[in-house]
Amino acid sequence: MGAEALAMVRERLASAATDIGLDHGMLVVSLPREALLPAVTMLKDELAFDLFLDVTAVDWPERDYRFEVVYHFYSTRHFVRVRVKTHVLEQDASVDSLVGLYGAAGYMERECHEMYGIDFRGNPDLRHILLYEGFVGHPLRKDYDKEHEQPLVPYRQ
């Protein structure tokens, strides 16, 4: 049952994807970012990938496309997962938001935005979620020093 769903995903996304393959048992689809929203809409509406698991980013400073935005989806009908990846440049780090499709995207995109600085076009609410107002920078980028604290309250002398 799961294998058929994955075969259909391969078939439907073969034209849009730059790379489709199995990686440690999971189907991984690499797309250019313009193809992301139509592909995800197709996954949700036609292939029953109704549970949006996760969106995160990986920072590869030495590559041309610095950020790799990674999505995971799960189908509660076929019991399989699929990983969808896209990559963006540092100067133009923005992708389309999935809040129109999945309510779960709201918080997850907020976190990815504040940690990596990736802009999710269409998400109305990109406030800080895990960090606080006044925090400058994007901590999970490789050039942010781990121990660089930005205290809100003055320390005692």
């Binding site: 895990l130 942010y144 781990k146 205290p151 309250v153 005692r156």
Partner: protein
């Protein structure tokens, strides 16, 4: 604004000029007040993280803080006198912690429960306050990640000793 209460003796001299009899009475008064305060601690459990599990355990039947009079949590800072900072304090939480501490009335004590409250624990990064003593004065530190309930009880008893032997200037001095 603090109000000065300076008792005056019958001959017109101010009572805080030290005499042996007066000091004897005030030290006995301090011992009595210290005894009363140490056995009627009203904690404000500022619980954030994993140490909260051990806090729940130490307040429960097997290891009981009610034996020390310290069981009833008062969730309003106006009514509490011991703030137990249980768990990691992040920089986002620090203003909240400071605001709650400021709202407590004297006499107040602060207990740093667990290593994250003591020194930031093993989280040495951008998000964690490296010890609450950077922003508040702390009276007792309880190490452990999380500390066993026996360690917490040891800490409470040491705090009780500290309260018992400290001065409680409620009558005889500027407070």
């Amino acid at each position: 604004m603090t109000s000065k209460i300076i008792p005056i003796r019958a001959d017109g001299t101010a009572a805080h000029q030290k005499t042996a009899e007066f000091e004897y009475i005030t030290t006995r008064k301090d011992a009595l007040v210290g005894w009363a305060r140490k056995f009627s601690i009203f904690p404000y459990p500022f619980v954030t993280a994993c140490c909260g599990m051990e806090f729940m355990s130490v307040s429960s039947t097997i290891y009981d803080t009610d034996r020390f009079g310290a069981a009833l949590p008062r969730f309003s800072p106006r009514q509490a006198d011991l703030m137990m900072v249980v768990g990691t304090i992040s920089h986002k939480q620090a203003p909240v912690l400071l605001r709650v501490w400021e709202q407590m009335c004297e006499p107040k004590w602060v207990m740093a429960f667990g290593v994250c409250a003591t020194s930031g624990g093993f989280y040495n990064n951008y998000a964690v306050l490296q010890g609450i003593d950077k922003i508040l004065p702390v009276d007792i530190y309880i190490p452990g990640c999380p500390p066993r309930p026996e360690t917490v009880i040891d800490g409470i008893m040491q705090l009780q000793d500290k309260i018992a032997r400290s001065r409680h200037p409620i009558v005889n001095e500027v407070y």
